[in-house]
Symmetry: C2
Subunit: 126 residues, 2 copies
DNA sequence: CAGAATCCTTCACGATACTG
DNA sequence: CAGTATCGTGAAGGATTCTG
């Protein structure tokens, strides 16, 4: 019996424990940065141009956070003027599969979700 | 040539398009609520007790958002006093697999990530 | 029991200006 | 080029109070 109960509790604990970690990787901009860096290593301003709506501050913050978690690597490739290259780490590459699964889910079910939204919004202004 | 380029661009567009959707499902509390509702249908205050740190306002908001996206269903099962039951929808069940993949990734690589964090933090106060 | 309404604080984020 | 520093704003979220 207590298998179900135990699993439920440990699942909730696991969720609580991993929510913070996932929040660092699945936040507002990380997904875009990660996607871009999976294509190829990239310079700072190159990333800025690739993600037009991101501010310089947010990009810096996102990169620092990903770097701290071992997902991307910051490599100084030149000085005068300084040049920095960001690239995805082996650890970072491993997260691509679950993320892609999630993106696939999103694009697969987007129509049904938009349908559900319309239904929900319609039944509100009655 | 433009295959790589095109894929990169469309990936970034896809990410931008799905970020909003995923944000509704992977936000601060949704994961906990979803995990709990996957176990069994649940009453409002039952959910509150199952997720001790959530406020009433946040739980209401989270449930409304999930309901709007067709992920959970709100069912009034009694009045006087009013009773409401929340349960996961068929659409909601389909998201469990990619989410579990992500949680599995998180728990699998947590040690390496904590290691990376320590290294990063250490090399700062030198 | 299941919320709605209100107040208040925190904080993420953008814009701007400056630097090695 | 690749940032740091500072300021201002809006939105999220908690605590509290009230209601059908």
């Amino acid at each position: 019996m207590s298998d179900t109960v135990h699993n439920a509790e440990s699942d909730l604990l696991a969720v609580a424990a991993h929510r913070e970690l996932l929040g660092q990787i699945l936040d507002k901009w990380s997904l875009s940065v990660l996607t871009r860096l999976c294509e190829a290593p990239c310079r700072f301003n190159e990333l800025r141009r690739a993600i037009p709506d991101i501010s310089q501050k947010s990009l810096t913050g996102t990169l620092r956070r990903l770097e701290r978690n071992g997902i991307v690597e910051r490599r100084i490739i030149g000085t005068r003027p300084i040049a920095v290259e960001y690239r995805i780490t082996p650890l970072g590459k491993t997260v691509r599969e679950p993320i892609d699964a999630l993106l696939l889910w999103a694009s697969t079910h987007l129509p049904r979700i938009e349908q559900a939204r319309s239904r929900f919004d319609d039944t509100l202004d009655e």
